[in-house]
Each structure stands twice: as C-alpha cells, then as structure tokens.
Subunit: 664 residues, 3 copies
C-alpha cells in the first residue's frame, strides 16, 4: 500500500512520460515552444529545478522564485505535472567560495573543487544548513502548487568525503556502532600490524594511500558514507513532508552504484527511482539493465520510476554511441516490463553549452527534424495504450542475492586471494541464464525474506552476516533450493575470517569444508555426473565433501579427481555449490537444472535467449533484443500495442515489443 504513489499514478492516468526540464537555460520565448512540443509528445511529467540552486538563491538568503513560478504555472496550464527537485546536488559557487570547508576531499587527498557538481561534503554542517534553507524555501512556496506531483530530493547521491567534518562524523558513527574502543579494536582486528587505538580522537577515515588500509576500517567507512548521504536525503525529505505529507518523495539511484546501499535507502523513500544509461555500443548491455530494473522493483517490492535515460547518446565516455532506431523504445518497454511506472529522460531539450551539451535529449539540437524526436514522439503516443499496466506488480520464484555489504567486502577491502573481483559482473553472470531462459527473478539482500522463493542464487558472497546465514539455513531446511558459488561465507560483517575452517558460514549448508582457495591462471576441465565435460578457470576451492555429494569433478590440474561442484541436502531442501568459475554454458545448466528441479517454470517456453519475457499484472511483455533476428514466442491474448489478437504465438520483429493482455 502506497497511497502517495497511487495518487500519483491516478493523477497521471497511467505512466509518467517526460524528463528533466531546465527552463532556466532558455529564454522565456522558448518555453512556449517547449510546452507545445511536450503536448505533441504526450509529456505529462517534467522534473524541474534539479540544478537550479544558483538560479533560485543567487546570493545567500536572497531567493528568486519568479521564473519558477512562471514555469510551474505554464506547465500546469498545459496539463503537465511537476516532479520538483531540491537543487542541493549542485551548491552555488558562493557557498564554497565563502565556506571552502564544504568541499569534499577525494580518495587521493585532493579537494574536489567547484566547477562540476556534487561539490559538497555530505557531513558538512554548513552544507546541511544551507541545503535545509533552500529546501524549506522551496517546500513552503510550492507545497500547494497545482502542478506539484512529486518531490525529487538531490540527485544521484555520490560524493565521498575525507574531510575533517567527515572524520568527526565517522567517529560518531563508529561510537554508535561499537559503543567503545575495545569493540572497535576487536572489529577492526587492530592487533594486526599494531594498529590499536587508545583514544577516539585517533580514529579517522582511511588515510592516504587509502587503497592498502585496514580492510575493516575501509569497509566501515563505505558503510558510513552511504549513511551520511542518506542522512542528507532524510533531512530534506522530512522538510518537504512537513509542508505537504501526501506527495511521494524520491531520489534517483544509479546503475550498479557502489556508493549507496540501496536496500537501506529504499525504506526511507516513497518510491524507488533509477537513472540508467546502458552503453548502446556494448552488446548485451540489456542484461545488466534488466538486473538493475529487477533490483529497483525488489528494493521495495513495488513499481518504481525510470527517472532518467537517454533518448540517444550520452557524452561523458570516450566514445558515446547513439541508440540505433528502435533501441530507445525497446529499452523503455524493458523498464516497464520490469516494473517501471514511468519513462523519463534526461533531458527534455538539449542544452547549448555546459558539460553535457552533447548529451542527447527528447528534443535534440536538430529539433523536430530528427530521428530522435520522431521516436520520442511516437513512444509518447504509444505508451498510453498500456496504461492499464501502471501500478501492477509481479512475482518471482527465483531470487538472486545482491547485497552492498557483499559487494564492499569483495571490492574495497583488498588482501584477498585475488584482488580483481567485479561483483556486478559476477552477479550479472549468474543472473543472465535466468533472464535468457525467461525466468522471473527478484533480487534479495542479507535481510530479505527468502521464504517467498523456491530458489535463491548466491553469487560469491565472500562476506555474509549471521542473520543471512541463519535465514539461508532456514530457507533450505524448509525445502528451498540454494545455488551458491565459490568463495562464499568466508568472513563475517567485520571482514574477519570465520573459524575454524572455510567456508565458515556456509559449511553446514554445503556439507563440505575447504582446505584452501586457489586462483587459477589457466583453465581446467570438469566432468559432470552426466558425462558432460565443461571448462572452468579463475578459481578453485579445494573442496572436501563432508555430507555433500559430488556433482562434478576436475579432470586435470592440481585438483584432478577432486570435487568441483557438490550438492547437499539439509532438511527438505537442497544446496548446489559451485567451487570454481564454470564456463558460461555449464553455469547456465547448473543454475537452470536446479531451478527446474525446484519446480519453477519460466514465463514462456521455447523462446530464444535474446527474447525477454516478463509478466506484470495480467500482462505478458515480450521483448526481442536481437537487432537482426525475428522471434516467434508462444502467447495468447491481445497485443495492446497493435490491438491485434494473438492466438498461440506472436512474432517479434528485430528489436520488437509485444505487450499481451492474457485472457486468464
């Protein structure tokens, strides 16, 4: 139940369609053209003011709301709602000029100066005081404006800070977490290399060179920064809520954003929102996109908002590819298929100058005489055909663990048997076979209720806490299937190796202990019980089955004859543990066999891997990610996009989409 979001959807009559709008960049005359073209394109929501602090408060305490009044009124007159941003991601130059201490310090020790954005230390009291003032001014002025439909707090929360203020805040955070110095010394294992603290004042953020610092200190600092940023969000959220309690308050996450623990954040928002820019030049970027979409839906178990995507190319990379014809539409429906209730872009109109002058827009530099505009306009007209989908949810029987503590453990603490883990890539590799086999998937965290699923997949969970371990044991004992890959369960939440043997947390689950972890330079052969031979590389657990049964055995290498993949029974459930990095086909078969054995059916059968299929409410989404091949998929119902009746099968053109209302 989310009355704010229900009202939001009702107000928009279905999906939100639109994007970031920056009237402050343009003469007033341009605004009229903007609004007319917005209407032509079916825009019903724009995000205003995200970077407008300097336009709204050109000098400390002097506010200039006239232009925003004007813009809000104009939009309202034209039936366009507003997602109003607090502009606190980009403080005006006067703030850092008068108070240089608000500037963040980067990992290399340099001050991050004015001239970009995100030039604020989230722990700075001065920054927070000024952010609260502009937020209060905005909220009090616009709380009852009829265009106002949603609050957008900050933007892509990201700054880190190794400042004096951050040091003090980190100490407070640690005091709250550990209570006393002895507990901190224990947690950080400071007895190693003689790092014991004898006074709280000695404690601070990791120091330069930070990469090779105490691993528990680094881990806690990442947790702290996420929490410090969250405090900024909550502070502003509470201000706008104090003026108007019924509107949803959101901020925008980013694709695979390591800085902020989205599971902790989501509970403090009214809806989850995502900015995503898959690289059109990279084959398969839709897989990671799908994963991020599923993650967004899973964070609150609700529909979410696609807050920013590109109509075409971005501009910040070495090479910025355009989206070829059809890709923008396909990607938009993909987000919706995975639970998005909006299709929003950064940005409405391409700017003439500034850092992102070549970032694409709904209305490009070349205006309406452009392919991009035509595709945007067509999508804006088409989207209402599936308005009935908005607000509906979906279910999954398979879950994949994606937890920020597991991520930080693998990537930020150094000193592992290998120091080149890429957690998003690892999770994506485990997620891809499920997506390509048309399975519905949720993402879960340490604290999730695993009991809702039949299968839980745990990729390389080097760090897990006791709560997660206990929950997984209960899940399996109650009949669940756990698929887990190598180097999991190794350390506790303090980054300390669980004793007395690897894999401490998961030893009972997998029914084996591990003697040593051995990175591999070359590949080895693995034979499965059914005689199939696959290859493996990168890593070997030296597995010693205790209660487990061997599913696959190494054929060569130092561990020839030893177990590579095992299975174990616990209660009425089952665990499959993969002690190496299998080749993609073998990993796929291992996961899909376990899923099938658990009795989980895909959304559709007999579809090729480039077809994505999801069910949302009573609607079947079919998306063909191939740019060259058509695909025929079993389906029955009515394709809402064409109005055509589908009787047994539907054929998707390359990059084609069908949204089929099934007659259930």
């Amino acid at each position: 139940m989310n009355p704010g979001m229900d009202a939001f959807r009702a107000r928009l009559g279905g999906f939100a369609f639109g994007g970031d709008y920056n009237p402050e960049q343009w003469d007033r005359a341009v605004w009229d053209e903007d609004v007319e073209l917005m209407r032509r394109a079916g825009v019903n929501l724009v995000t205003l003011g995200v970077f407008a602090w300097a336009s709204l408060e050109p000098e400390p305490g002097r506010f200039t709301f006239d232009w925003l009044d004007d813009a809000m009124d104009l939009l309202h007159r034209n039936g366009i709602s507003v997602d109003l941003g607090t502009p606190t991601a980009a403080p005006p130059v006067w703030l850092s000029h008068e108070h240089p201490e608000v500037l963040p310090v980067m990992e290399d020790g340099e001050v991050f100066g004015f001239g970009n954005r995100m030039h604020y230390d989230p722990t700075s009291p001065v920054y927070r005081e000024h952010a609260a003032r502009i937020t209060t001014a905005l909220a009090s002025r616009y709380r009852h404006h009829p265009a106002l439909a949603m609050w957008h707090i900050g933007n892509e929360y990201g700054p880190t800070a190794y400042t004096t203020a951050a040091a003090a805040a980190f100490r407070d955070w640690l005091r709250r977490r550990y209570g006393d110095l002895d507990a901190l010394n224990d947690a950080w294992y400071t007895r190693f290399w003689g790092q014991r603290y004898s006074d709280w004042e000695q404690v601070g953020p990791p120091e330069v060179p930070r990469s090779w610092s105490n691993p528990a200190r680094r881990l806690d600092f990442h947790r702290f920064v996420s929490d410090a940023l969250l405090e900024c969000f909550v502070m502003e959220r509470d201000i706008v809520r104090s003026y108007r309690a019924d509107l949803p308050v959101v901020t925008n996450f980013m694709r695979f954003h390591r800085q902020t623990d989205s599971w902790r954040w989501a509970a403090h928002e009214d809806a989850v929102a995502l900015d995503i820019y898959p690289d059109p030049g990279q084959a398969g970027s839709h897989v990671a996109a799908a994963l991020n979409f599923d993650l967004m839906r899973s964070l609150r178990g609700e529909p979410w908002l696609l807050m920013e995507q590109a109509a075409g190319a971005v501009s910040q990379w070495r090479v910025n590819h355009v989206k070829r014809p059809g890709r923008m539409r396909l990607g938009s429906y993909q987000a919706v298929a995975h639970g998005a209730d909006s299709v929003l872009f950064f940005q409405w109109r391409a700017g003439r100058g500034g850092h992102e002058r070549f970032h694409s827009a709904m209305l490009p530099h070349s205006g309406t005489r452009s392919r991009t505009w035509r595709e945007v306009e067509a999508l804006g007209r088409e989207l209402p055909r599936i308005a009935a989908v908005a607000g509906s949810g979906s279910t999954a029987e398979v879950a994949v663990l994606f937890d920020w503590n597991a991520w930080w453990g693998l990537e930020v603490t150094h000193g592992l048997p290998r120091n080149d883990f890429d957690y998003p890539a690892i999770v994506t590799a485990h997620y891809r076979p499920l997506l390509e086999a048309q399975h519905a998937v949720d993402l879960v965290s340490f604290g999730s209720d695993f009991g809702r699923y039949r299968v839980v997949v745990v990729p390389n969970a080097y760090l897990v806490d006791d709560r997660c371990t206990a929950a997984l044991e209960a899940f399996v004992a109650a009949g669940g299937t756990l698929v887990c890959s190598f180097f999991s369960g190794v350390v506790d939440e303090r980054n300390q190796v669980r004793q007395p043997a690897y894999p401490g947390a998961f030893r009972r689950l997998i029914g084996a202990y591990i003697d040593e972890y051995a990175p591999l330079e070359t590949s080895v052969a693995v034979r499965f019980a059914d005689g199939c031979v696959a290859s493996a590389d990168w890593w070997q657990d030296s597995l010693h089955p205790e209660t487990a049964t061997v599913l696959a055995t190494y054929l060569d290498g130092d561990l020839a004859g030893r177990a590579a993949v095992v299975t174990n029974s616990l209660g009425t459930g089952r665990v499959v543990y993969v002690g190496t990095r299998l080749d993609a086909g073998a990993l796929r078969d291992t996961i899909l066999d376990a899923v099938a054995a658990a009795g989980v059916a895909p959304v559709v059968r007999d579809a090729p891997p480039h077809v994505e299929a999801t069910v949302r409410g009573g609607f079947l989404f079919l998306l063909n990610h191939s740019g060259t091949d058509t695909a025929t998929v079993p389906a029955t119902g009515v394709d809402l996009l064409t109005g055509a009746s589908v009787d047994g099968a539907v054929t998707l053109e390359p990059l084609g989409v069908a949204v089929i209302e099934t007659r259930s």
Copy 2:
C-alpha cells in the same frame, strides 16, 4: 619587408648554421677547441645563455658577466655571431627559495618544484620583476657587442599555472574579454548545473579535478595561459628593443605545441623559430615535420628559423632512436625546403651531466671520431652551396586550416560525442595526401586571408568563429573550393552549439543539415559516384542534403543508403564535405580530386609519394624520404649540391636531396 631579418641574413651571408652553446658548462680551455671545431664545421651562429641565469646572477642583483664577455669576444674574434638568450626559462634556485609563490601549480594541484626548468608562474609579479631585471642587465651590457646578431627570448614557453596569482590574472583577462559578469555567465553557459557567478572573486581557473570542468571555462583558461605567456615574451622583447631596435627578436616554438597560440604570437615576433624533434624510430615522422615547417612559414608568410633539432637521438623518451646515416642531412634540407633560413641544433657539445647528458650534439661525447660529427661537418660545408636560397619565399594555392581555437575546442573541453579527438593527427591526415602528391601547402587560421588560395581544406573544425565562417563563405562564393570534414562548424567561440541545427556555421556552405553525430565502432562501406567502394569508420554525420549533391553513399550500417560525402555550390565556388572518416586512400582521392578540379598543379608530376618537392624562390627542392628506394623525378636546371646539370630528370638516392636552380 623585414629589415632586421634582411640584415641578419646579410650578416651571415646566407644560412645560419650552428646551435645552442653552453660555455658555462666547460672549462675555459675547452672553449678554444670548441671555436676551432666550429670553424671547421662552418658554424656561423650560436645561441648563448638560454639557461645561464644562475651563472649570470648567482645571487639576487649580483651579476657575473665576465665569462659571457669572454665567450662573446672569443666568438666574435672567430667570426661567429651570437643569438643571445634571455635566461628566463630557468630561474635560479634562489628565486623560488626566497619566493616560493613564483612556482607554478600543475593540473593535479601539486606545486611544480625546483629541479627541472620552466619552474615559474608566468603570471607571478615577482617572477616578471626578476625576469625584467636580468633582461635589462643583459640588454644594456651587450646591446652593442659586435657578435650580437639576434635576441632569443626565454625558451619553449610552456608552463601553466593554477596559482593564486594566475587566478587574479585570469579574472582580469576575463573582465577585459567579457566586460561584466552577466556576459561571462552567458559565455560559460553557467545556467547548466547551476554554476552562475555572482561576484568576480568567485571566478578562477578550473579546479581539481580539472578534466571534467565547465568546457567554456577550460577553453578560456587555455586562451588566457597562452596570452599570459605571450605577455612575458612581449615584456622582455620590449626591454631588449629599448636598448637596440634593429636586431630581430625571436623565441622558439615547439612542434604541435598546444599551449601557445602561435598565430597570436607570431605577430609579436620579428621571425618565427621552431624546435623540432621528429622521432627517427617512427615511420612517416617527416610528414608531421613538413606540416610544422609549412606552419612556421605560414605564421608570418616569411622565411623562419630552425632553432633546434637533434644531430642524432634525444634522451627524454622511453626509447630514443638515433638518426640513421643521412637522416639528419635530409631533415635539415627539408626545413630549408619549407622556408627555414637556418639549420641550428640543440646543442653544440654534449654535456657530461644533467638531465640531457645523452641528448645528441653536433660534437658528441665521442668527439670528432664519430659518425655524427662527420655528418655535421659535411653538412656545414655543403650548406653554403645553396646560400642563394636564403631569404626567398614560396607560394601555394592550397591551404589547410590549423587553428589553436579549433584545437582547444576538440581536445580540452570534453563532453563531445567522442572524447578521443587528436587534432594534430587529424590535420596531418588531411595534409599528408597533399604533401605526397607534391603540392605546395600553406597553413591558415580563422583570421587568414583565404582569398589567396584556390583550395582550402578544413579538417574537423568543431569550433569556428563567425569571422572564419563568413570568410569561408566569401571565399567559396568568389570561386574557391572548400574541402571540409565531419563535425565542423558545430560550436561558436564560446563552445556553445549553434542553433537551430547542425552544422550551424557551415550549413549554408555544405548545403545540408545534420540530424545527429554518430561515432562508429566498426567500419562501413561507402560507394562513390564513380562506383569505387571505400571504407569508413570512427564517425558518421547523419547528413540530410538540402542544396547539396551526394558524392558517396553508405552501403551498410545504420545509415545505409544515406549520404556520406556531398558537394555543394555556392556562388561560383564549390564545397566538398566528408561526413565520415574515410580510409586513407579515399580521403586522398577526395582531396586530390577537388584540388585538381580547382586547377591546381603539383610542384612536380609523376613523383612517388615518398618524394617531397617544394619550390622556394627559383629553386626546386627534391627530397627522397625512402631509406631503400631511389626515385627519378622530372627536373631541369643545375643541382646546386653537386653542381651537376639536370636535363629532364634527376635521380635521388635513398634519403637523397637535390636543390635545383631552375632556368626560368
């Protein structure tokens, strides 16, 4: 008319031959050997004192000119003239020790300390004051010394500075450029990301991390640094002129030196001078050398000075290749062929210590028992045979645009569809076919008089100002031929996208608009009107011809069937626009076809591409850059180097040179 340079040439009786000479590094006894060997080698000019500040002013205000008096006298007695340097490129350690604020700050925020050279902030009043003092002392002492033939101000002006002094100077520069803050805010498009300035004191150089800073701010900072360095040059020039007005005053540019806008600088010098170190280990490095030579000649439309080249290897790169036999001679004549009136080296005698102890010299560590010495001596004896060439000029009907603002626009402002443009490489790719087809070429800038040419080639001029646009339109309207490549005319001098459609500035010229700019990952096929099929990669303009005719069409890819190369008529002239990166052969044919159609003839016909041919005065220079193949070239006259009569054809040995006085 350049009376100073005429007198200089007259004094030397033709070409200057010699190099940097550092007697302060050697015992007095060595000087006598130096001068004797200089005479053997035909040296008639040496550059003195470039890094001698610490030897001339060992303590603040205490001058020690005795050794320099001695050296000047000795040289004069032996008939060797002096190019006297102001030593201000390398302040003595006492200056930065007593005034640390004179040290520059680098892009990463670190102070550039003492221990190298160029350790001065060009905007520092303290630096300027001390530089003026030593310059004044030098000028007053040596103004009437009979050896003195030229003033050499500073050296390879290069330092950048992100200092407090630079911030103040940058603000002054901006005030002069923009007048008020509103104009600055407009020019920098500070409405994007809320970067509006409300007080001049808030404005400063790009801050750390500088790479992703406001693109107009970065662009202006580059302009400012070039101007600040130029101010240093002008200050010293004015001092030496105030003591002796009839001698030429120069400084030395570097090959493809992005830091200083040579077009702006050249007007303030009496002659252009160049330091150049083509990598002997890199095939084709003579092409970029030729381009730089033509650029030097074009800057003032006059003969110029080859101020520094290596007799053999340099020492600063990872691998420093020697020049194989004949290459030093060939490169020397190449400079002369393109307008140089000197063949000068860094340095006369190889130093025993210091950073560049393995930088080659006319007189190497191994002395006269060396290949290098033998080649230097031979060249010094041979060069006077073409003394008649000195001072003569040349003409060209083809010009290639090479403008610092275009360069900065492409490389320093980030946020482009691609961020890996290499402007010198791009211009070289357009220049190479002209060189290899033996065409005479000038380089031009935004402010040049295009009316002097039949063909102007404009490579990737992303940024052009209105003046240049108007001049190009006038040039074409009057019958000129413009060849222009993709992503040109896009932004104005403030780095703002021209509206309402790409390519704003050149839309009328090319008779087409561009819908979007699309970088390419792979190559595509292009078919020309004559049926030839070429390949293209890296980039595609999505071209929509308006008045233009299609010359070539894409055969595959997203733009299959669409225009790749177009031509347009304007007035009595013609434009060829290349909307992609053609393969080298197709680019060559496109350029040479346009040149031929414009009625431009090459210097010689039927010569292979590895032969360079230029005409200077009444002299035909033929240079064979092949190290293995001979070449026969049509020519008639007398080869001044051999004295042989040439009747119809001359055969060049590998790395061979002929200078033919034609009987016109």
Copy 3:
C-alpha cells in the same frame, strides 16, 4: 668467524625452523595449541613482536610486557627459542596522532598516513627518540631471558621521506659527502639548466614532479635514504648490543629491494636475513630466487637466514597463486642449498583479520586438516636429517656484479638512450645460464675482491666507480676473465659521462671505443666466428675495435658488417664484451664459452637446465624444478633425505630434492 652465529646454530642444533608468531592476536588459550603444534612440526625458533609496539606501549611511556613475558616463558618451557623483534616498523597510532611530522611524505608529495605500516620518516628525530625508547625497554627487560636467541631489528626497511626533516638530514649527508657547495654543484653538474646552488638552505630532496629531476640529485637522494634507514638500524642495534653483546643482531632484507644498498648494510649486521616471496604463478621464478639467495650469501660470505617465506599464497597481488604440492619444500631446500641456515615463514598462524588475513601460514585457517599443514609438518621433520649442513659454506669461481649504485644509475636517473632498463631482469638474464649450467656463482659489488674468481660477469654497468674499474683491470691483468655487456662504464659515481669517449671506464678493458649508443626497435642478425647466426635486439653499441678482436658481426641493420661482440687481451687475462642484447641462447653460449675457456667446471655435468646443483660444505644439493619431468644426475654418496646410497647417479622426481653427502 662469527661467534654469535656459531652459538646460535649450536643452540638450535642445526637449522632454525619456524616463523613469525603473533600471540598478541590470539586468546591465551590458543597459545597452548600453538606451542603443541609447533612441537609437532619441529619448530625451534619463532620471531616475536615485530608489529607489537602498540601492544607493548599502548600509551606513550606506559609499557605492558606481561603478555610478552608469558609468551617468552611458554616458548622457553617448550624448547622454542625466540628471535625478538624491535617493533619499530609500525609505530602506534598515538605517535603519529600526537606528532604528525613523523609521517613520511611520498614521491607524489602526499603524506603517507596511518593505517598501513612503515608510516615513519626515518630521519625524524621524534620517531628515532621513540624507537630508541621502546628498544631500550625491550632490551633491558629481555636481555637475559633464556628463550632469547637473536635480535630482529625493525622490518623490511623501506620508507622514503620527502619531509622537512629529511631535507635537513639530506643537506647534512651532502655536506659530509661533498664538503662545500662548489663540490656539490660540480657533482650535480648544476651548470646544466642553470641549477647552481648558492646556499646550502636551497638544497633539498628532488621536488615534485620528481621523476624528471636532476639525475645526480636523484642518485644522491637514493644513497641518502638507504643510509638514513641504515642509521635507524644501527641505532637500535647499538642499544640491544649495549645490553647483551653476544647475541646476533639482524634485520630482514627483501628480494631485489632497490631502496637499501645491502652491501653497505651487511657489514653492520651479524648475519644477513632475507624475506622472499617468489610468485608461484610465474614460471622460472626460482631463477631470481637463486640469484637472491646467492646474493645473500655473498653479502657477508657466510651462511644467512631465510627469515620469511610463504607456506602457500600471499595476498597483496592481483592474483595470488598457491604453491602447488612440493613447491614449498623445494623452495626451502633451494635456500639451504644456497647457504641459508634457516627455514622460517611469515607466519605461524593465519590471522583472522587485517590486511594479510589471506596470507598463507604454517598453520592455515583450515588448521591441521590442510595440505599446507601436512607439508609444513613433513618438512619440519625432514630438515634435521641434514643438520650437518648448517653453518657450512661454499665457494665459487664465477662472480656476477650486482651493485646498488649500478642499479640506481640505470633506473632512477632518467635521460638515458633508453629509459626502460630493468636492472634485476638484466642481471637475472646473465645469471640464468650459469645457474642452468650448474655453476656455482657469487654476487659481487664495486668494492669486492675480484681476485678470488676466475670469471667476473658485469651486466650493463652503466655507472661504475673508479675503484671498481681499477679492480677489474687488475683482475684481468692478473689472468681473470671478464664478460661484460653493453652500455657499461659510461658514467662515474656522479652520473657524469666519462670523457673523452664511450665507454670511458672500460675502454682499455674492452679494447674498443664506442661512437654512439643506438636503441633498436627490431631485431638484427649476428654471425659468430664459428658461423653460428643468432639474433639481437633492443640495443647496439656502435663499436670500434682498437686492440680488440671481433667475435661476432652484425649481418644486417645500420651496423651491418660491424662488430657486435669483441674480445680483448689485457695482461694475462681476457675480456669478452657484448655490444648488444643477444638472444638468450647466444648470451648463454657466450658466457658459458668464456667460463669454460677460463677453466671453470660446473658442479655436475650432463644435467638438464631445470636441475639446480650446488655444493655446500661436503654436501651436494640437487633440485629438480620441473613439475613434470624426472631428471637423472651423476652423483655418488648418501642421500641424507632418504638415507639411500647413491652410486654414480641419482634420479630426481619432479620437484624432487636430493642432499648427497659425498665421500670426498
């Protein structure tokens, strides 16, 4: 004669076996298990307290020795001796918190903060005062403890420091070296680029950017840092000696550690000790290990201590490979074969947390149920079988130069014809053929007595001092054979090119002068006098034989027909000079031919290259580094490891070892 070490060996009854032990990381209950397992594994020595400063002095001046008393007593009761560390490599956080100036400054100018180890400026008076205090406290308390067998000063001396304190200390060091500023200016060749100093206060460490700084200044700074670290060692050594004069005092060097000139250090120690971690994932890493082992033995011409090695993997690299079965044993015997009197590990028990929680240990995380433990225990039981070897020495007739000044010259001074020299790799390339041909080899430095050898090999000694040059000439004159490779003898100890021709120092030795040094991009062919054709690359000396005879000639390239390898006679000796980088086979043949011609016989004949053979005392060590092939080697005697009689030949399994007591 080394009575301290003799007593040490006698106390242990042969080899030391054990490792670093950190009881302060564990509950007291764990200690009892530790000691019991140490006894099972035959551990007789542990190193205590290396990083225990914070545990021993938790607040300034307050000492907590109780736990260490307890540990020492427990170990003594169990017959285990202690190598007691001074904990000064890792100051407690309170020291740098109260005195931030003790922190070092890194090459990039950043302060190296607390959170790692080695966070001390070795020149800091405050650091030294505190280091002296804890060392005094330890020495006075434990000097007569019955477990105490050795002092271990600091750890892996490594910090550099560009601090204010270091600047002052550097000036003092320079004053002592040069006496006055004129001499310094001469030595640093400050006349180049006008860097002359007029006041000592102007002199300091190389400044940012340091890489391109005065080459003599950089060279001296490296010498100074080595000496400053050595002062720290000597200070602590003198303290512990003042309390107990009869125990050996050591510190631990590292493999190829450029920071500290081990030749200078060794004279101040009672024994040399080495930490070494060859990469098990890199084929041939045993060659560099053997070189380092021979270097350790050569430093003092005595047995040495293997202070740290890994039982399995380390954790600091990108990929940390485990040692496959047998490799740890093989590597341990390899150290012994080359003179080690100990087999010690970092560390006894794997820690649960901290930076190195995945660094392997004698007792791994998985405890005694592990391959690693089984191999450690087996080695501990096996090692006493060769106890008779301990203390014995070995002799060699071939020496290879490995000098820190030569190293620094090639790698830290920049501005060479190539700037990618890798001195350890170069020396290893010259050492490998000798090792693989089963020759005994010593390493030597500039100051060594070459007269003890028949052959001296000098790889790329760009920088040599006059003393070394004279000694080499005397050595050859007296009948010795010198093999020397290109770019040798070029500069003096001040990094100044010797005049009047290359290779200044070695011209008389090689009987040729060199015209120029020419790096090569591609390879060329070389024909030897016997008709064999080899290839060469990377470099060519342009050699002009004077008294030398040509051994090999270039077949192609710019120097076709010219000398590539020459030989020269001097007195009754002979020099072979290699003027290029020969392919590995040709370099091998050239070196081995010279060795054979000098009448030097290998340790064994007819053994394959993967077999290492050394003689130590009356014991022949044979080691098979192949992981796949057996090897049969001629030998006669008794294999101490198996007790088997060997009659004419012994067969080694893959990774096998034999230690044969020969009946001489």
